[in-house]
């Protein structure tokens, strides 16, 4: 699993990249009440704002971590946004993408580096 400075995690699964937010991010956001997911089939470019997550206290953007296509979104989060607080690294993944350029993966942090990053 890789981690971005934007507090997203990326996991390879069957040639796709699964993306979610970290436990640290979910704790900092507080109770999540709404998630605006991208549409399946959307072509996205790295660092594009593609998703919005609203907690009781703030709205935050989720950026595309890679160039590619959104092939699946986790529609369960629409009805149960609080899953992001309960299981951010598991059930509450946000979307799966088919990357067109895996280059940036090398720059992202491993778990140890991320732990150090959030201190």
């Amino acid at each position: 699993m890789k981690f971005t400075e934007e507090h997203e995690w990326l996991r390879e699964e069957d040639g796709l990249i699964v993306v979610g937010i970290t436990e640290h991010a979910s704790e900092q956001l507080g109770d999540v009440v709404f998630i605006d997911l991208p549409e399946e089939g959307t072509e996205v470019t790295k660092d594009e704002e593609i998703c919005v997550i609203e907690s009781v206290k703030a709205a935050s953007d989720i950026l595309a971590p890679l160039d590619g296509e959104i092939v699946e979104v986790n529609s369960m989060l629409i009805d149960e946004p609080s899953k992001v607080n309960d299981d951010p690294l598991g059930d509450a993944w946000f979307f799966k993408m088919k990357p067109s350029d895996l280059g940036p993966m090398e720059d992202y942090m491993d778990e140890a580096a991320y732990k150090k990053f959030v201190g």
Binding site: E6, Q28, L29, G30, D31, D36, E54, K57, S60
Partner: protein, 391 residues
């Protein structure tokens, strides 16, 4: 006042990383907040707890189900003494101060020449003086305003050595009565001096959550002990500014600097219930307050815009600043949201904002623009959750 989550004004999750802050004031309970594990944020110049480990949602629900303890020591406490105090204050606010009975409190607002609201406040008749509680962000200006306007026989004393606690929720009475049984006899907006934990406290049966409860002015040196005694009751949880904001919004109450400000009049803000008949046109002491011509004129002729409750039809919260439109497509914005959040008790997003008076009827379908999309929102009755005061 600064909205509390301005403090983490994140445009992306990376914004969650802490930034160095300018020097902030601390309340007497500051160390206790840290010990309780609070997340602190700057608010109106103070370093304040925005939430405790329980989190905003559960803190909110706990306050509605049992009792919550709030540190509101950042707010300004002011005493006015002198024979002309009540009459003098009536020159600054459109409320009946002279007729307020001893031992009673009333909601009011300082106005300006344009009819706008300079601050909102609570004032109480304590017999030989008036006791005022004003907003943290306005307190310096309020004290200056009072000193400038009141005659020399009235002294304006800014209280710097007392903390202010709010105990709110259906269990508040039982919790506080365990320390002082007489508080159970108080009605909504009664004020009394009561000994709590061996210390003289000034208590009002009021608050800003829509729940029954008390606000307690306690000497600074005794504040931590009193808070500790209250928190030792298992029904009481500490509540931060985050839940304070969602509680007051569900209760339909205005946050100064957001829902009301120097450019909004009490008529536009739908606060004319707070102007007693005696100060209105035709009343025994009609007018005579700052901006009376504008405010009484608007009461007669109506105002162009009005503060309303807004319930988004969908799940997306409509935050402060969201523009409101009359139709799903085309046309310019006709209004805007001044407070918007998710209501933990309501289990839905909720907002307040200003719309043209002709579009302010309950049930009117409007549209709020969220991230470029116009989403349906309905004008709704305030409060969103019923008040639970002990009248």
């Amino acid at each position: 006042m600064a909205r509390w989550y301005d403090a983490c004004d994140c445009t992306s999750l990376a914004g969650l990383k802490g930034k160095p802050m300018a020097e902030l004031w601390q309340t007497p309970l500051y160390d206790m907040h840290l010990e309780l594990g609070a997340k602190m944020v700057p608010f109106a110049g103070y370093d304040m707890p925005v939430q405790y480990p329980l989190g905003v949602m559960k803190e909110h629900l706990h306050c509605r189900a049992a009792a919550g303890l709030f540190d509101v020591s950042h707010m300004g406490q002011v005493i006015l003494r002198g024979a002309g105090a009540a009459a003098g204050l009536e020159g600054l606010i459109p409320q009946d101060v002279i007729g307020l009975e001893e031992g009673r409190q009333r909601y009011g607002f300082f106005t300006n020449e344009a009819g706008g609201i300079e601050d909102d406040l609570m004032f109480a008749n304590r017999g030989d003086h008036l006791f005022l509680v004003v907003n943290a962000g306005c307190k310096e200006a309020d004290v200056a305003r009072l000193r400038g306007a009141l005659t020399p026989d009235v002294t304006v004393e800014y209280i710097e050595d007392r903390a202010l606690l709010a105990l709110q929720g259906p269990a508040a009475e039982a919790v506080l009565a365990a320390l002082a049984p007489e508080v159970a006899d108080m009605r909504f907006m009664d004020v009394r001096t009561v000994s709590l934990n061996g210390v003289e406290c000034w208590i009002s049966r009021s608050g800003y959550t829509g729940e029954d409860g008390y606000e307690i002015s306690v000497p600074e040196a005794a504040a931590v002990d009193l808070a500790g005694v209250l928190l030792a009751d298992e029904r009481v949880a500490p509540i931060g500014l985050g839940a304070r904001d969602s509680l007051r919004l569900e209760a339909g109450l205005c946050l100064y600097g957001h829902d009301i400000d120097a450019a909004t009049s009490p008529v536009e803000a739908a606060l004319t219930w707070g102007i007693q008949k005696l100060r209105r046109a035709g009343g025994a002491r009609a007018g005579g307050f700052v901006g009376a011509d504008v405010i009484l004129g608007q009461m007669a002729a109506g105002a162009a815009q009005k503060r309303v409750g807004l319930l988004p039809d969908g799940r997306a919260p409509m935050r402060e600043g969201t523009e409101i439109f009359a139709s799903a497509e085309g046309g310019a914005a006709i209004g805007h949201v001044t407070s918007g959040a998710f209501g933990p008790t309501l289990q839905a997003p909720m907002a307040m904002g200003y719309v043209p008076t002709e579009l302010s009827a309950i049930g009117t379908q409007l549209f709020g623009e969220v991230r470029g999309k116009r989403l349906p929102v309905t004008v709704a009755k305030l409060p969103f959750t019923p008040a639970n005061f002990k009248r």
